[in-house]
Symmetry: C2
Subunit: 193 residues, 2 copies
Amino acid sequence: MRYSAEHKQQTRERIIKAAARRFRKAGSEGAAIADLMRDLKLTHGGFYRHFASKEELLVQAFEHGFEEIRRKFAPVIERAPEKGKLKALIEAYLDQEHCDNPGDGCPAAALASELVRRPRSTRVAFQRALAQHISVIAWIVPGGSDQEREAKALMLFSGMSGTLAAARMMTDEQQRRQFLDAAKKFYVNAAGV
Amino acid sequence: MRYSAEHKQQTRERIIKAAARRFRKAGSEGAAIADLMRDLKLTHGGFYRHFASKEELLVQAFEHGFEEIRRKFAPVIERAPEKGKLKALIEAYLDQEHCDNPGDGCPAAALASELVRRPRSTRVAFQRALAQHISVIAWIVPGGSDQEREAKALMLFSGMSGTLAAARMMTDEQQRRQFLDAAKKFYVNAAGV
DNA sequence: TGTACATCAGTGAACGCGCGTTCACTGATGTAC
DNA sequence: TGTACATCAGTGAACGCGCGTTCACTGATGTAC
């Protein structure tokens, strides 16, 4: 092989990473394969050595996005006291910083209304990724059974993703800040933490 | 003029109506002008006698969508007792029927994550339409000042739009129904009604 | 160890399609006289 | 009242562009011998 054994795997991961960023920033239809590949100083033709289709990449990028935000929010959760972890995550999720940077933020908030329209097989994969992410988050959600905590996590985060999308639509800086502050209180209260 | 005086106005409204449906069903990029015009048994060329661009139509369709859902939910609100109007609206918003029919449902829920990426001028228009819609809804939200009630309405409905988008992504019928039922309870409770 | 061949990630031209927008044209009706 | 002309909603071909996907090719390195 022309390239070292792990080179291909690395390239694949770099494509996914660039895609995860671009899809969240520009939408699933706003990120062209040629642009993605140019991000890595490659040309578009090589893409199909790594993925069967753009649709497959979209799924991978969606999963990767969740991994990224888990890493992004991990320190916030760690730093918070035992009983304040969910509160800390809610406040980080609804923070200006997250709102202003969809490119490395929650993929569900960035893509929610578009995902519904993908083929069924894609949606099944999305769901699996979402469910997996939610099951991780549920660790810090108070409640009885695992199922109860996961249901609560999904309710809170699906709501917050809509709220974040609304905040991102706002063109007035001050209005957005006030809205996000109110949202933090609303969801912390709704979470009962 | 070849057509009666009000004919042009009527055609314009029919285009908006068809667009409002198609945009909500297929997304802002999924509805082609030729398709819209075909819905009215017209050809695509005539479109530009009515609108300067597709972007202008998108704004009009978004506004129209809100008018439509106000009409759609009006009887639900009227039928409910004075103190139960918001509860009734929340339950209608999160109902299976609304979930299964994005085409004549809430435009914010159907398009949320795409709207962020439109040009600033479009977003300003979206916001105006959203604010207007929220101000109407706020009538049935309990609270002190108008501003307080509007803020609460925006919080509830932006959250519910995200929750609805999540429900729509679910491929499992039963899971969706359970999730929507839980969401109704969650938001009725969060609204304090 | 050296040589011939196979492999395959990456290249870049090309294909095909969808779609927003433009434009010359049509023809029914309104208006001026 | 009748005639000539103007108007303009609607038609459909064409343009131009973006973009997903394909494909013949390249060339560095791995492998067989």
